[in-house]
């Protein structure tokens, strides 16, 4: 069974088509990177997959079920921190929120606490368990939010622009973590960083109102130009530590 099936999805916002005729499917344990220009509908597509937005047309199936019935199959890591940094809540409590699936009243029995502990260990944040979320760095917060998403014990992990608030030093490690998680679950990830995407993901989808799904992770100049609708310099492949050509700096 396919992990995700998207059939003929359209999304309009105030009469403007954000997404048109989106068709693709994702296999279990796949790792899909979605790239595309700003305003191309990446976040909208993600929000449809996690059930935050409903498409006006078309359907989305998660392991054969409708999105609303598949809530506990999906772990969602949002792009920005939606929360107030002053909110008095510990790292452990944040991750516990991932255990609060619909219909549950209590969410902190022994099993929940054990799952939360394991998730924090997996993302390398167990030492910060009792720290207030607001005291963490951007990269650390991101890891906690990933722990919250995998505390759902999902079959699919969906990340919206995860590198956005991660400093480059933490970056590498972070993708190793995703690689690790990919052994247990399907991953869908939006990224600006085309070079990074092509290093780590298995498949690439280019989204700019329409979606072109590539069954490989090879990025060609044509693909990018079609998606971004402007000439793009092809990024160096296979150089793990240098993604873009080095820029020349002139200091006078």
């Amino acid at each position: 069974m396919k992990a995700i099936e998207v059939n003929n999805v359209y999304f309009k916002y105030e009469e403007v088509n954000i997404l048109e005729e989106i068709n693709f499917s994702v296999d279990d344990r796949d790792f899909v990177g979605i790239i595309g220009p700003n305003g191309g509908g990446k976040t909208t597509l993600i929000k449809i997959l996690v059930g935050l937005l409903k498409p006006q047309q078309g359907e989305v199936k998660i392991f054969g079920q409708s999105v609303s019935k598949a809530k506990n199959l999906i772990g969602y890591v949002p792009q920005i921190f939606n929360f107030d940094p002053n909110y008095p809540i510990s790292v452990e409590e944040v991750v516990l929120l991932g255990r609060l699936t619909a219909g549950r009243k209590s969410f902190r029995n022994k099993t929940d606490l054990k799952i939360v502990h394991d998730c924090l260990e997996k993302v390398g944040m167990i030492d910060y368990k009792h720290e207030l979320i607001g005291n963490l760095s951007g990269g650390q917060k991101q890891r906690v939010l990933i722990a919250r998403a995998i505390a759902v014990q999902p079959k699919i992990l969906i990340l919206d622009e995860p590198t956005a608030s991660i400093d480059s030093r933490a970056g590498k490690n972070f993708y190793d973590l995703l690689d690790e998680l990919n052994k247990e679950m399907t991953i869908i990830m939006i990224s600006h960083d085309i070079g990074v995407v092509s290093q780590y993901v298995k498949k690439i989808a280019c989204l700019n109102k329409n979606l072109v799904f590539h069954d490989s992770k090879e990025i060609s100049k044509e693909m990018l130009e079609q998606t971004y609708q402007c000439p793009v310099d092809l990024i160096a492949h296979g150089l793990p530590h240098r993604v873009l050509d080095e820029h020349e700096h002139h200091h006078d």
Partner: protein, 264 residues
């Protein structure tokens, strides 16, 4: 100092202070972390319409206040969330409309309305036995609802989008929260009045958030701070012959300033 309790009204005043601190500390915590102080102010002012109706039709104005604040909570929730109207704008409208309605009803009602000012700015001398019982019942409603929905309130006030992605009915939880705010406002009106309610709901939690490590702690700190401000405010209003509501707010603001300049 003990002699002030020999007056029944002072005993009632202190009981009312305890009730108010409890409700305001718990619900104010949500108001502050969810940043809905303005919404709270709007709901509070609409109660004036209900109070005016009480005067006009001759029933206890406090019941009018309950009706009006609950109605306002529904309006904000339904139009703001479900119909996607700007909450900010809605609040401005119901805020003014409630006040205007109150004045209108009072104009229509016959005779002299001596304790009208007390609803605007609070008057501790007018807290009756009935008011205490109403406050107690409303407090129990608040405590029970918060206890039963504690996890969901936390999820929704912390990160609404994630809560929604988890399948939690965010709009329903938000409505329940607004209804609890409405109920809390009614508890506070007799003590500090419609205009000053907003301060009792926001100042203690605004101080508490600096020191709290969890929502539960923030609530406990807020309640304790509320008690402190209430009692110091009441004593000073009694001995210096000042309005109770204004005294409580003054003391609260002094408390806030002290915490502001204190390092965490």
């Amino acid at each position: 100092m003990i002699d002030i309790f020999s007056y029944d009204f002072m005993l009632n005043a202190f009981l009312a202070g305890i009730m108010a601190s409890l409700a305001a500390g718990i619900i104010g915590t949500y108001v502050v972390v969810k940043r809905i102080v303005f919404i709270t102010g709007g709901i509070s002012h609409t109660t004036y319409g209900g109070i005016g109706l009480g005067y006009l039709l001759g029933f206890n104005p406090i019941f009018g206040a309950i009706g009006a604040s609950v109605l306002a909570a529904f309006v904000v929730s339904k139009l703001g969330r479900v119909k996607r109207q700007s909450e900010d704008m809605l609040i401005g409208i119901i805020w003014a409309f409630g006040m205007a309605l109150g004045i209108f009803f009072i104009n229509l009602s016959e005779g002299y309305t001596p304790d009208l000012m007390s609803y605007l700015f609070g008057n501790i001398l007018l807290v009756s036995q009935t008011d205490i019982i109403i406050m107690l019942v409303l407090n129990l409603v608040i405590l029970l609802t918060v206890y039963l929905n504690f996890a969901k309130f936390k999820a929704v006030t912390f990160d609404e989008e994630f809560a929604r992605s988890m399948g939690i009915n965010v709009d329903r939880i938000y409505l329940i929260l607004l209804l609890l705010i409405a109920v809390t406002i009614v508890i506070l009106i007799k003590l500090v009045g419609i205009v000053l309610v907003i301060a009792m709901l926001s100042i203690p939690p605004a101080i508490a958030i600096k020191y709290a490590k969890s929502i539960k702690q923030m609530m406990i700190f807020s309640v304790l701070l509320g008690l402190l401000f209430n009692f110091v405010g009441l004593f000073s209003s009694y001995y210096l012959n000042l309005t109770s509501g204004a005294s409580i707010i003054f003391i609260s603001v002094i408390g806030y300033l002290i915490s502001y300049f204190q390092k965490r």
